[in-house]
Symmetry: C2
Subunit: 501 residues, 2 copies
């Protein structure tokens, strides 16, 4: 049986390497490609994608799975090996259900929809995008139908992106969260202790910001012999194992943006650095789910990156690197302002406290669209209404409203939930971490981030995909997944920051 | 028949795109890859190479060729289409003769030999490399035998690298060349007018050199929207059509090295920019041969790049960019020193006049090795002896002697000749150019390089691979290929520079 197992893993590895090559072609497109190289790059990406897909639906995989699962020696496989078989089977069975023609048409419509979305966003006019979005919703419904015609289509999509996830589960997490956070946001906005926002718009020359961001990676311990930091329009992370590249974006009058996006991407990047412990290019040696990935990124960005402990250590160095710009700012004022909270229009710029409402809004709209409760044409009005009731924010136009995200135009539905799941997973894991390491704050204040991050690496990153996300979090924390850890974390943090006692 | 033709060209295109992806993976390895990413990159390169090779020897190609060539409508194909068929067939028939196992073993031994070569070179000790080189010679003999067991093995390899080339042809070019150049070198060395070599070692800060090299590309008209210039240990060019990337290497105490290597690689790069005129990703829309490629590079580097016309125009700008460093140098002294000639050890650093002797030496050694006239173990002694008789140079050790080039360790034999063929082709084409454009010098002196370079683009680059190299040169120049144009060019140039009259 060993030879069938090795053959199967060999086929899987080939698909992974093609994926690696493709990620890297995207990286080049966004970082190093000359201006006019786009057409050729698109052809390269299309070909490698096709070859990868062919490998993932190769009928030989089906044969090998059948041989192995019915083999008399199957039980002699280790748990990790069985998990590999299981994960390959789950992926294979999903992918073979989608007709190749449909994949092609879906992705073609995605290109068209992305173009009309961009135009619509530029002109802040949803009507330009409406009919293409209608098509994308239909494609998503069909996609879900191919995967499982028996199941509620939105549940199918949620499960596809995060195995085991469905509407009921997500609602059972976010409903109690809302109960806590709505009054918390209100109290913060009514507090007398408002941070000094003008600190954030002080101009910091890009050259200084670049040094600062590389230094931040140094503080985290991000290994630049196994990665890079570059600049792009939309920050992202790509690659795995010994070659993980992150990007950031610099604004002269918003230094915090690059610092926080670098920390966020470093969280994604470190995950990829350590995830192969159980076997590189094997399913168990890859990331677990979008939620766990996002949780890692937001752990690095928010829980560590915005902690007062980190800045107690790093603020003097920060001041030194930025010259006189922040000479008059106290540590307390700085920590307060990098954690300021206020209702705002744009998800990617939202603070830690209000962020999840942006996700809840999108979740509710996707759910109702796919279940036919609302229509695409009514989206802008419903969006604006929900922004008012959920966040108390008056949307000014479609560009800062329903058109702000690229996801739907790309064909992605059921993917936003990963951000909030990430916050929930991250806070719950952090709770376990603080119990396991009661002096974590003192360690970080001394500049020793490695003890905390190493705990996270060993307990989360190195586990790879040995369990689905809910089971993984339970395995790490000893508790069922719950949003109460996030609610507690935010309550404690914001009560202190806004002096709500 | 059209659909068979399209299918065939589609298969060819897929192999080309895989080659494009691979070139680009190599570029990343040498330019942007993080230090520890090498192992993963090697796996990516190995996989893409394998997929490309599979496509090139796909039996369907053989079937399609058979169908098309025997089809009643074959004669309706255009000449370009017929040429495409011919070129695909020629490549296919060669590649299918090489057993896949042999390809793997050859390339594995290449990795081993490259390592021992590097060690041998570091220690200037040929004996470390000897047994691996012996194996590489045997692999080359076998390779030639697979391709054509009836033909002299070195002729097979020469023809493989430059269709139509063989020992007799090459000797008939270089023997008359030697007759002219040997006395010319002697006269130059005996001349009273020796250039002031100290100019070349003046220190030019790397930052200034970078600006200078980008400016040189600007003068040439190299389109950086369709390419890049980066820094690497060994300069090279990679890519094609709208994405052609060149690299250079900066030495603080040898500014000329980077400038000339940038011009050289820009010649390669411009070739790739324009070569697709007759159809991108079709055989006719690709480079003709190594010799024509090298000829283009050396045309840009030597014939244009070291011309007094170019520097009459560019020297003031050069002085401006380099500040005070060359304030006291006259144009005449500058042109003299960038064209200085003297026997030297290292091929890649050799000047225009002595360069071909380095090639002739390698040609003679490869020929005698493959024909069994000499043995690997005797190579160092024969190398040193030939350097003395051909160039009057006393080799100090194996590192600057027989171990200087990477080619043999990589398994390449029969490839050095392309450099001298390039010089010969370039000079012959340049002769036609000067007849077609008698005022070329005045144009360049005015800074109008575009008229000359455009002539070259239209008459050489855009022709792609519509004819094999000898026929192409004959088609462009109206004359049979001959080394007399190179002999004349060098005689005129060096007679003037060294005032030999």
């Amino acid at each position: 049986m060993r030879k069938f197992y090795d053959e199967l893993l060999g086929l899987f590895k080939e698909a992974c390497i093609l994926d690696e090559v493709n990620m890297f072609l995207y990286w080049d497109r966004d970082v190093t490609m000359p201006k006019k190289g786009g057409k050729q790059k698109a052809e390269q990406i299309a070909l490698i994608s096709k070859l990868e897909h062919e490998r993932r639906i190769n009928p030989r995989i089906g044969e090998l799975l059948e041989i192995i699962r019915t083999h008399k020696d199957y039980e002699n496989l280790s748990d990790l090996e069985k998990r590999n078989i299981f994960l390959i089977q789950r992926q294979y069975e999903k992918l073979v259900k989608i007709p190749a023609d449909f994949v092609g048409e879906f992705s073609k419509q995605g290109v068209i929809a992305s173009e009309s979305w961009e135009k619509a966003k530029d002109q802040a006019d949803f009507s330009i995008f409406q009919s293409d979005l209608e098509k994308m919703v239909e494609f998503n419904k069909k996609y879900a139908h191919y995967l499982n015609p028996e199941m509620d289509p939105y549940d199918v999509l949620l499960d596809f992106n995060e195995p085991g996830m469905n509407q009921e589960k997500f609602e059972s997490l976010v409903n109690p969260l809302k109960e806590v956070i709505v009054p918390l946001i209100r109290k913060c906005s009514e507090s007398d202790h408002q941070p000094n926002k003008s600190i954030l718009t002080r101009k910091v020359p890009i050259e200084i910001q670049k040094k600062l961001n590389f230094d931040v990676l140094n503080v985290i311990g991000y290994d630049l012999d196994r990665g890079r930091l570059d600049e792009t329009v939309h920050p992202f992370t790509t690659g795995n194992y010994d070659d993980v590249r992150i990007t950031t974006k610099y604004f002269e009058d918003n230094f915090l943006s690059a610092v926080m996006s670098t920390m966020h991407e470093a969280g994604h990047g470190e995950y990829e650095h350590y995830v192969g412990k159980n076997g590189r290019y094997q399913p168990v040696g890859m990331w677990c789910s979008d939620g766990v990935h996002e949780g890692s990124a937001r752990f690095y960005e928010n829980i560590i990156g915005r902690s007062s402990s980190l800045w107690k250590y790093y603020f003097p160095k920060f001041k030194e690197l930025t010259g006189d710009i922040f000479a008059d700012v106290s540590l307390e004022d700085f920590v307060a302002v990098i954690n300021k909270t206020e209702p705002s229009a744009i998800r990617v710029d939202a603070d830690e406290l209000t962020y999840d409402f942006h996700i809840i809004l999108r979740f509710e709209l996707e759910r109702d669209l796919l279940n036919g409760k609302i229509e695409v044409k009514d989206l802008p009005a419903i969006w604006n209404e929900k922004m008012k009731t959920l966040l108390g924010y008056e949307v000014k136009n479609d560009a800062e409203g329903v058109l702000q995200d690229i996801h739907w135009s790309d064909g992605l539905m059921g993917s936003f939930t990963a951000y909030t799941l990430g916050n929930i997973f991250g806070a719950q894991i952090f709770d376990t971490l603080t119990n396991a390491m009661p002096d974590w704050e003192q360690q970080i204040e001394k500049g020793n981030l490695q003890e905390v991050l190493n705990w996270y690496r060993v307990n989360v990153f190195e586990k790879g995909n040995i369990l689905d996300s809910y089971d993984l979090v339970k395995n790490i924390t000893g508790q069922e997944v719950s949003s109460k850890y996030l609610a507690d974390y935010l309550t404690t943090k914001y009560t202190k920051l806004y002096k709500l006692d």
